[in-house]
């Protein structure tokens, strides 16, 4: 018989009571989604790793303050998103000479050739979206989050979330149509 998985609330209670392995299970459960959100927002593997680590560290330290009944996923995504925003703001403060934008080096010939594959093209198109649209698309389409949760994570009204999603899809459609048209051109 399969043992039912513990809920997030039960794991948090156990972690607060000093059972470290319970927090380890929470990490296992959310690290992929957290890393993915960070990676899509920052577009840099190393920075995404740092942001994901920072998010879990902050969550671990503040675990006692977690409000029972709230969703852990919303909480950890909010911390992650704020960590990413801080990093983006820091990145903007430095001049290009001091800190080159490693995240967006531009597509080389090899990468352009790779973009023939739909998934690869779509990923590249998502990466090219403005940051505010990227986060919404990541949470809604790629992670299957609800509008309410996305609104809470990004601290936006729900209407704005829906508008961002609509505009993001428009931009993606345009970007993908452009690629198709370029490929069709001799």
């Amino acid at each position: 018989m399969e043992v039912p998985a513990l809920t997030d609330d039960a794991l948090i209670a156990a972690a607060v009571a000093g059972r470290n392995e319970a927090f380890g299970t929470l990490v296992e459960r959310y690290e992929r989604a957290v890393y993915h959100l960070a990676f899509r927002t920052l577009r840099d593997t190393e920075e995404a790793k740092d942001a994901a680590q920072e998010a879990f560290f902050k969550a671990y330290r503040a675990l006692r303050t977690f409000r029972p009944g709230a969703k852990f996923s919303t909480w950890i995504f909010t911390i992650t998103y704020h960590a990413c925003c801080d990093r983006l703001a820091r990145r903007k403060r430095y001049s290009n000479d001091e800190l080159p934008d490693r995240a967006d080096p531009g597509a080389g010939p090899a990468e352009l050739a790779e973009r023939t594959d739909t998934a690869v093209r779509l990923r590249a198109a998502i990466d090219d979206l403005p940051e505010k649209y990227r986060a919404v698309v990541t949470l809604f389409h790629l992670q299957g989050r609800q509008y309410e949760e996305i609104a809470a994570v990004l601290d936006l009204p729900m209407g704005t979330v829906k508008t961002h999603l609509f505009r993001a899809k428009e931009l993606l459609r345009k970007a993908l149509s452009d690629v198709v048209a370029e490929q069709g051109t001799p």
Partner: protein, 118 residues
Amino acid sequence: MTDDQIERALFALPLEEPPADLHARILAATIHRPRLMFRAWEVWVIGTLVAVMVWLGYLVFSLPQASDRLARALAASLDQFGLQLGSGLALWILLGISTAVWISLISLPQSRRRATDH
């Protein structure tokens, strides 16, 4: 591409695998992070006590004939309570020994975080 195709392509897009070392890095920064010997408030309390003791010591030894005056003040207060140093010495020694034994028997409560480590 139509809206529907975009939607379907987006929902079908798999999440990238996180880097292999991410899990270990997160655990190292959280549950496997070495504990500090003292908590922040403990450091503040100990630091304040040490600072006060240093300050008192400085006061005592920086004043002219401070140690003489301190000894005289102590003797005067003892006289006032009718406890001459000579006759009350045994009582004071007894009091000192019993206090030392009492302090050695006190078991201070362990901080909760360290108590739940194992």
